[in-house]
């Protein structure tokens, strides 16, 4: 990994992003950087444009203005064919896994492997199985169809598919929403483990204050179409923007912070 002179490599650079739906402006000149090897948490109120930001970065949505660079390449106006080599380098986990419902979990994970690379069949199976286990699923789940899995397992299966191509950066869209507190905590831990062991960069969109404290090294707060602050969580807590204060000093923020102090961060934070 080539870290430039003293400065960390930017995996994603968003500059002056403008997103509009009709007359409703979601992003108004938004700037954001994601550095290699970090876990960045993106939070904001409902409708602040977190998911839209994620979809725009990965190219599922065309922005109305601004530029997006991934891995140093301008991807803003790429067509599908140009985008393909970029797409192999990131993984995306949708809110409910977005598994192909007509395929088993194992087949779901095999899809990107088969589509992108020529590998012997048994190697594909073994790799897919490895990803399923890395995502913390029992092997018995591999031959089940998504409809037979619980919400938490579907997310893990979606994560296994996102990990299939060994992405450099993983985009997670509210991975812990809809999970019970124990499953959510286990998922946070899984992300922290994968981040540490696979050296992944993680872009995490979340509502979950516990996730922020447990896994994120940096937190970006979206409000009024811009990133209000993007910094370590301790510094974000001190920020005096209205939404940030209400969020972090409100009952949920305080209890999550207290919890984090008691347990200590599960993520291995850089010194």
């Amino acid at each position: 990994m080539s870290a430039g002179a003293g400065e960390r490599e930017r995996v994603v650079e968003v500059r002056g992003l403008v997103s509009r739906f009709g007359t409703q402006v979601v992003h108004d000149g938004l700037d954001l950087d994601v550095y290699r090897g970090e876990v960045l948490g993106v939070i904001g109120g409902s409708g602040a444009g977190k998911s839209v930001l994620l979809r725009t970065i990965v190219g599922l949505r065309q922005p109305q203005g601004g530029t997006i660079r991934m891995f140093g390449i301008d991807t803003t106006h790429m067509d599908d064919a140009e985008r393909r080599p970029i797409e192999r380098r990131f993984g995306l986990l949708f809110q409910d896994g977005a598994l192909f419902s007509s395929l088993t979990v194992l087949e779901n994970v095999r899809v990107p492997l088969i589509e992108y690379y020529r590998l012997p069949d048994d190697v594909v199976d073994e790799l897919a199985m490895l990803k399923i286990r890395l995502a913390g699923l029992p092997t018995s789940a591999a031959h089940k169809y998504p409809a037979a899995l619980s919400g938490g397992m579907r997310k893990r299966a979606g994560l296994a598919r996102a990990l299939a191509l060994d992405p450099e950066i993983l985009f997670l869209d509210e991975p812990t929403s809809g999970l019970d507190p124990l499953s959510a905590a286990a998922f946070d831990e899984l992300i922290a483990t994968l981040h540490a062991s696979l050296g992944l960069t993680v872009f995490l969109v979340t509502h979950d204050m516990d996730s922020l404290y447990a896994v994120c090294e940096r937190v970006a707060v979206l409000s009024n179409g811009r990133v209000v602050v993007a910094d370590t969580i301790d510094r974000v807590e001190q920020h005096d923007e209205e939404w940030v204060r209400q969020c972090f000093l409100g009952p949920r923020g305080r209890s999550a912070a207290r919890q984090a102090e008691l347990v200590g961060p599960t993520a291995s934070r850089p010194a």
């Binding site: 012997p120 450099e168 062991s197």
Partner: protein
């Protein structure tokens, strides 16, 4: 991580000094050929040293290959000495090794003669079950309908009118056009065959008998099965898959009363009306062909219609319309209620609804034909 101009990944062994060298990028994108070569490590008494100082990158696929190679010699990452392997990469190898040790169970194979027999048996059993379900649902709908009549359940007028517009009014153009065309086609058929006998004028009877007794209602029913029956399934099915039906029940409401009855009643009213339209348009289509191809004037055509075609043929066709409406609505709604979870299920049940509805419509039409023949109508 630049991958395009990197040298290919390499694995070489020197059995004499018990050294193995890993070089190049051991990443998924580059590993295909190396995987296909299936490299091995000869097992020997010596403790192997693995030199990874020229390894430029390692991902889970590369780690898996390394673990495979080691395991082929009956070794684990702890049984060899690594030199030049970065800590992070060593952790990755250990993680992959630990995770892939857990046994993998095979899925059930699903082919062969016995599996085919099993599938056939299941299909037959399912057919029987479907028939029972349909019957049960008809009873449930009837019970709710009776509830409405004696005032225990409410009739949702807004919903009924909405569905009348959707299934009835919106279907007018397609029913009219298709009936007109089929009427014209039948007249052409009659013209071709009957002209040889000098009996062209009987084309009028051919068109009127066909449309009043059979085609008007059959055509309308089939169009509506494809158009409205499928829509019922898709609407109710997507509600079911998003748990809206459970929400309705949890609010103490009855999904049959709320969703099924308005659709049933709307189709009950609209299908006979559309059948009437279809009959008229079919006769018009036949008339136009008669006028231009057979030189039967409009006046002649209408007089002949009035003289030769009895009103009972109209009633024979019309009486079937509400029954077909009932079948289409019930099948469409029942299939919608059978949807489970996934979006794929909605599609499967929608197809099933159309196929079943058309099947039932034609079967009942045949039964009616036998019945009317026996009673001499």
């Amino acid at each position: 991580m630049p991958q395009s101009f990197a040298p290919p990944p390499e694995f070489s062994i020197d059995a004499g000094s018990a050294r193995a060298v890993l070089a190049g990028p051991w990443t998924l994108a580059n590993l295909g050929p190396l995987f296909a070569r299936r490299p091995t490590l000869p097992s020997g008494p010596a403790r192997w040293t693995i030199d990874a100082s020229r390894l430029s990158a390692l991902d889970t696929a590369g780690a898996m290959l390394l673990v495979r190679v080691l395991r082929g010699a009956g070794l684990g990452p702890g049984d060899v000495d690594f030199t030049g392997l970065r800590d992070a990469d060593l952790r990755l190898v250990e993680l992959v090794d630990a995770r892939s040790r857990e046994q993998c169970e095979a899925g059930e194979p699903y082919f062969g003669f016995r599996a085919m027999l099993e599938r056939m048996g299941r299909a037959v059993a399912r057919f029987g079950q479907q028939a029972r379900e349909l019957l049960g649902f008809v009873g449930l709908t009837m019970a709710t309908l009776t509830g409405v009549l004696i005032g225990r359940a409410k009739l949702r007028w807004t919903s009924i009118v909405h569905h009348m517009e959707e299934t009835g009014l919106d279907a007018v153009p397609i029913v009219a056009l298709l009936s007109f065309l089929v009427g014209a086609v039948i007249a052409f058929l009659g013209a071709t065959v009957l002209r040889d006998f000098g009996a062209s004028i009987f084309t009028v009877e051919l068109v009127s008998y066909a449309f009043l007794r059979e085609f008007g209602v059959l055509l309308t029913a089939i169009i509506l099965a494809g158009r409205s029956g499928s829509a019922f399934t898709a609407q109710i099915g997507s509600m079911k898959s998003r748990e809206e039906l459970d929400a309705i029940k949890a609010l103490g409401l009855d999904p049959i009363e709320l969703l099924v009855l308005p659709r049933l009643i709307a189709l009950f009213v609209m299908l006979p009306l559309l059948t009437f339209l279809s009959m008229v348009m079919g006769l018009v289509g036949g008339g136009i062909v008669s006028l231009f191809a057979l030189d039967i004037s409009a006046g002649q055509y209408i007089t002949r219609l009035q003289e030769m075609t009895e009103i009972r043929h109209f009633w024979v066709g019309m009486i079937k319309a509400p029954i077909f409406a009932f079948l289409i609505a019930v099948v469409g709604c029942l299939e919608g209620l059978k949807v489970e979870g996934s979006a794929e299920s909605v599609g499967r049940h929608t197809t099933a609804a159309v196929v079943q509805a058309i099947f039932l419509v034609i079967v009942f039409d045949a039964l009616f034909a036998v019945f009317f023949m026996e009673v001499g109508l």
